[in-house]
């Protein structure tokens, strides 16, 4: 019966939060995440300070580490933006993974010799076609939502599985590299389809710059255009938006197209900037991680850059730490999941206080 009594707590909005109220909870959330990571490191028999130090060093301790982090952040900025744009309009796109592969697919379909153009003509084409493909992939769940009211969370999730199988089918069939020795792998991109490095000699490709530009453009769209205004209105209160005359369904479709397009750029940038060909392990879950990036960024497109760097840093740092002391790299995923859950709670606590009754 005690359970059924319940505890008497309620949330009371705070009209004018103090500085401490608005900064302390997020700081505590990060601190708690670090503590969780330390405990898990101890569980693995490692010195937690050493582990945290190694993660930090591996993420930003050298020029190589920083470049590695920036490279890893690039696809996460794209998928983070894709999720941020969609979630802002309360379109639950959990399918960035599939859209990413759609972009990668079009990149290898057109970039392996089908279009024998110069880089200046080919690369913009690949960007555009990739985005269209990603947009098309999200268009289906969006239409199902708008037309039939089918919840997009489940459909986009299921599409990830379907689309990956579709890629697998292509890689073992029409797209298979004859020189691949039986491995399911596409042919390599022609040189004109590869993204060059931003500075010669530094391992950082133009995909990173494209990601930064995309984030800025998304920010401009959200803050300065009617479409952005509509997206935010639709996300905050669909009923009021519809009443005011905002074409809610059209806005959701446009949001889906933009979101899918952005996620697809992650695939384009990974293939054209890093891998040079398409395999089934192109993305170690960049699409899903984009959700964490977007949430940590509070769905702010510029915040996505910082969040993606943070998340990428943890991944890169954990990889290098794992090589050094043998603590499993999954520590990074646990840290991110913990950070995500505690951060959404912390954000709530910056705006509400818990009152015990």
């Amino acid at each position: 019966m005690g359970l059924m009594r319940g505890w008497h707590m309620r949330l009371e909005p705070i009209a004018n939060p103090s500085l401490a109220r608005s900064t302390l909870p997020p700081v505590l959330a990060i601190a708690a995440t670090v503590i969780v990571a330390s405990l898990l490191a101890m569980l693995a028999g490692a010195d937690p300070f050493a582990v945290l130090g190694l993660i930090l060093k591996g993420a930003a301790g050298s020029k190589f580490a920083v470049l590695e982090t920036l490279n890893r952040a690039t696809p996460l900025i794209f998928t983070g933006l894709a999720v941020a744009v969609a979630f802002r309009a309360r379109l639950w796109n959990i399918g960035a993974e599939a859209q990413l592969y759609a972009g990668a697919l079009m990149t290898v379909v057109l970039g392996t010799g089908a279009l024998p153009w110069s880089a200046t003509a080919l690369l913009p084409t690949l960007v555009l076609v990739s985005m269209l493909a990603g947009a098309a992939v999200l268009l289906v769940p969006a239409l199902l939502k708008v037309r039939f009211g089918v919840d997009e969370v489940v459909t986009t999730l299921l599409f990830n599985f379907i689309f990956l199988l579709f890629i697998s089918l292509l890689l073992e069939g029409p797209l298979k590299d004859p020189m691949g020795m039986g491995w399911p792998k596409s042919e390599r991109l022609i040189a004109e389809a590869r993204l060059p490095r931003i500075v010669e000699g530094l391992r950082l490709h133009w995909g990173f710059a494209l990601a930064l530009i995309s984030a800025a453009l998304v920010w401009v769209i959200q803050r300065r255009t009617t479409l952005g205004y509509e997206m935010r209105a639709v996300g905050l209160n669909r009923e009021a938006a519809r009443f005011a005359g905002i074409p809610v369904n059209a806005v959701l479709i446009k949001t889906a197209l933009l979101s899918g397009g952005l996620a697809a750029l992650a695939g384009f940038s990974e293939v054209a900037g890093v891998k040079g060909s398409l395999t089934l392990d192109l993305s170690p879950g960049f699409g899903y991680t984009g959700i964490i990036v977007a949430m940590l960024a509070l769905l702010n497109p510029l915040g996505v850059i910082a969040a993606a760097l943070f998340v990428a840093g943890i991944f890169v740092g954990a990889d290098s730490m794992s090589r050094a002391v043998g603590v499993p790299t999954y520590l990074a995923d646990i840290m991110l999941a913990t950070a995500l859950l505690l951060m959404v709670l912390a954000i709530l606590l910056t705006r509400f206080r818990v009152v015990r009754e």
Partner: protein
């Protein structure tokens, strides 16, 4: 082999029931959560955690049933995290659910690496063995199909009845359904919506974990990464397909599993050999989406699903 032959063979139905079993556990778990008003997207990760926990417990020397209990407790732990964030704090059920899935999955993989740092292929346990029900298992066709399953399968079917009974025949079930329809009505009677919803999510998560445990302790005898492979998401579709009713959800799970078993068998026919295997592997996911589309116009969804309730919030 003709499709009709397949449909009339006992081994086909035995496989379908086996495939359906983990889905039944997890679908029931999700159904309980949603009936109380909480969408639990932690399902996928909780199934992974349950699969590992049960198997690991047995591998470490526990008995099979204690292993199932361990899986359940682990699932309930993740359910507690989920419900604490989504119920009293009313945080986004989408975000928290996905976060719990990530947390459960990564914790599981971390634990696996810590527990078995050196192995290249995961060790096997002695899983649940088929348990032939006296007399019933002698019935031709039906006996080998339905009554020569492992005890966990029988438990899954039994639980469908128990959950139905609790939901529709007991005061607790009424309170639970009311919490998913109109939490204010529950609060007005002095019952704790928070308590009911948290309890539902915790118990439901326990069932999801049992669904995962079925995979490692009954369907297979070992733990692999990716072994849940979207089954959790499929169960969410099955809850919708079953119109939030345990009996219909069971029917949906069996129907779905029958399709799955059929595609495995068709793959082995000459006709199937010409079709890329990926097409067959896609069918469960495609079917789930189709089921969602077909059921989309129905209005049985609990009225307060995904609506946070905090009695004092003004």
């Amino acid at each position: 082999m003709d499709i009709l032959d397949i449909l009339l063979s006992a081994s086909f139905w035995a496989a379908a029931i086996r495939i359906a079993s983990p889905l039944i556990f997890a679908t029931l778990g999700e159904l309980i959560c949603e009936r109380a008003g909480v969408l639990n997207l932690g399902i996928e990760g909780i199934m992974v955690a349950g699969a590992f926990a049960g198997w690991m417990a047995v591998y470490s020397g526990l008995g099979l049933w204690p292993g199932v209990a361990v899986a359940m407790v682990v699932g309930m732990g993740f359910g507690a995290v989920h419900s604490l964030l989504t119920v009293p704090f009313g945080l986004s059920q989408h975000v928290v659910g996905l976060g719990v899935t990530l947390l459960a999955t990564s914790s599981t993989y971390y634990a696996y690496r810590l527990a078995l740092p050196e192995v290249t292929s995961p060790p096997k346990i002695t899983a649940f063995q088929p348990w032939e029900i006296p007399l019933l298992s002698d019935i031709p066709l039906i006996g080998p199909a339905f009554f020569s399953q492992t005890p966990l399968t029988y438990l899954a079917f039994l639980l469908v009845g128990v959950v139905s009974l609790v939901l529709y025949r007991t005061p607790l079930g009424l309170a639970l359904r009311a919490a998913g329809e109109n939490p204010a009505a529950v609060a007005a009677q002095g019952l704790s919506v928070t308590g009911l919803r948290m309890g539902a999510v915790i118990v439901g998560s326990g069932l999801m974990a049992m669904g995962g445990a079925f995979l490692t302790m009954s369907a297979f005898d070992s733990f692999f990464f990716e072994m849940v492979n979207g089954r959790g998401w499929i169960c969410i579709a099955l809850v919708v397909f079953g119109a939030w009713k345990p009996g219909k959800a069971l029917l949906g799970a069996v129907l779905f599993a029958a399709f799955d078993a059929l595609q495995i068998r068709v793959q082995q026919t000459p006709l199937g050999a010409d079709i890329p295997y990926q097409i067959f592997l896609m069918t469960p996911y495609v079917l789930s989406i189709l089921a969602l589309i077909v059921m989309s116009r129905r209005a049985e969804v609990p009225a307060a699903l995904m609506v946070a309730f905090n009695k004092g919030e003004r």
